[in-house]
Subunit: 359 residues, 2 copies
Amino acid sequence: MTERIGIFNAGPAVLPEEVLLEAQKDLFNYKGCGQSVMEMSHRSPVFQGIIDDAMARLKDLMGLGDDYDILFLLGGASTQFLMIPMNLCPDDKTCNYVNTGTWATKALKEAKKLGKKMHIAASSEDKAFTYIPKEMDITDDAAYLHITTNNTIRGTEYHWIPDVNIPLIADVSSNFLSKPMDFKKFDMIYGGAQKNIGPAGMAFVVISKKIQEKLPGNVPTMLDYKTHISKGSMFNTPPCWTIYIVGLVAKWIQDNGGLVGIEKINKEKAGYIYNAMDRTDFYSGPVVFEDRSLMNIPFRLPTEELEKKFIAEAAQENFIGLKGHRSVGGCRASVYNSLPLKWAQKLGHFMDEFAKNNG
Amino acid sequence: MTERIGIFNAGPAVLPEEVLLEAQKDLFNYKGCGQSVMEMSHRSPVFQGIIDDAMARLKDLMGLGDDYDILFLLGGASTQFLMIPMNLCPDDKTCNYVNTGTWATKALKEAKKLGKKMHIAASSEDKAFTYIPKEMDITDDAAYLHITTNNTIRGTEYHWIPDVNIPLIADVSSNFLSKPMDFKKFDMIYGGAQKNIGPAGMAFVVISKKIQEKLPGNVPTMLDYKTHISKGSMFNTPPCWTIYIVGLVAKWIQDNGGLVGIEKINKEKAGYIYNAMDRTDFYSGPVVFEDRSLMNIPFRLPTEELEKKFIAEAAQENFIGLKGHRSVGGCRASVYNSLPLKWAQKLGHFMDEFAKNNG
């Protein structure tokens, strides 16, 4: 088999090798049906089976039943920044956001751009988004509270779910299905598929029947959740291939112990890197200890020159994707579900060696 | 090699076998770079090469230069129905539409839903959309004229381009790159990828620099063409795999004689089916002769029972996708670019035999 490299990309991100090999085997002729999944009519029974299977597996992993609908939508999570306030914040209410950095900031700015009353219930901007705010100040007329469960760029993660008596909405793009979570506490979660559950090109939305009662009637067709709920995500042609891969990834998670099993491995993987970081003063992590992300691990070296050297030498050892986001600099290792354990282990070892040789 | 079937789907549609085989070969490890295209960072040089290549090939096929931008957007053509009036019809102007059926109807309804002044410049609704209107009545304050160059459901196609002195916008979803066209006459064309140029999950937009000057500043971020133009379709994560396949399909068209070569083959393919239809009174085509589509060929049989029998027997011979759209009934053969010639020939023969045995 051809040699794979260590893919630490923040997204699009690594996929399970088993999933890639199965997709490759079936690409030309899906299970002997004479056509590729990329060619199938979305109205055909064979594709209906694929989408039903993917949705059922995701619901099973989340432990959710018929009181939630799953939508596979085009537009990426960025389009959700717009659809959420448009659909779920009436003009006489205020949408509340916790600002934990870049993506949360984009989400709340879009609500404001739409002309909605928007309130920042909590923010960690005072300390460069290096922690998750524990206190919130929610308005009495709140339409919903919006949080971002993991910040890909800053490397912070919610390890708890806010207890609120208003609808709770979360962007879970970068830690979806990485650990057990009480999904029933949310009225809506959403994210881009391209980090933990599939290739780029699709947003998933999990929306409770309860919050669906609040949907208005005057929203443009493609931006209206009702359009997609009523047609089972097939109002227009869905991204069939992406949905197929998401189904394979969900099956792979189920086969690897579900969310309990995945969390165990994720902790071990992140451990290799955090331990290498904590063993020496050579590396420093900006995030407060208790809010460290299991998915995205940013770290700094003593100088920018050493960071460049680190990334260059890592590339020679076939580690890619280790450059920090351009807005913050430094280094970052994204260790999503699908990253093989051995690559996290190898990176931890590489970090130890690099510190020894350059410290 | 595993046996392929005859895919006459209206969309998602057949893809070239050569493209599928190449994608299959490279799926696990793209050109030895150690990762799948589905895993690549969209910010990486290797993916930048893939998207640049796809855009350059499309521009080459259309004969367009730097005075046009190509965008690869999420949301499908249906989202364009909304973005076009939102971006290109100011409140003091009227958007003009030619109504040639289903998709055109959806496009103009969305403009109306947005509260824009909308005018139907021509319509073939009087005769069940079985022809392309030749006369138009365009308002003096027209923001643009919108046409649909091919109607997938009704099987009508523009074989000419309206000469107007206002911006001309066209939904070209179902006949894009199927024949030479004077693309410079359009200020914007767009479509879903899933018919002639790739798998489902992406809209392409070709937009002139000239019309870009008219773009306003108050549109939600993801619905604003300027957002995507300024970032080369990478404001958010693009559908990398779909873009990759589109590039392969564009190369396949170039390798097969470009648009001149493709049109020649398309005429021959459609000919097999139209000839089988015209040879006998057993079949009837609803569309007026001069507006017949080279891509989608609807036809009726003497009774609905015979239509069911036709579709069932065709399925036994491995022809799929021959059922007419549920809104119109009957039969339909979609013979897009990628349908191998032999399958069109086989279907023509099958139609002859079926007419003989059941006439």
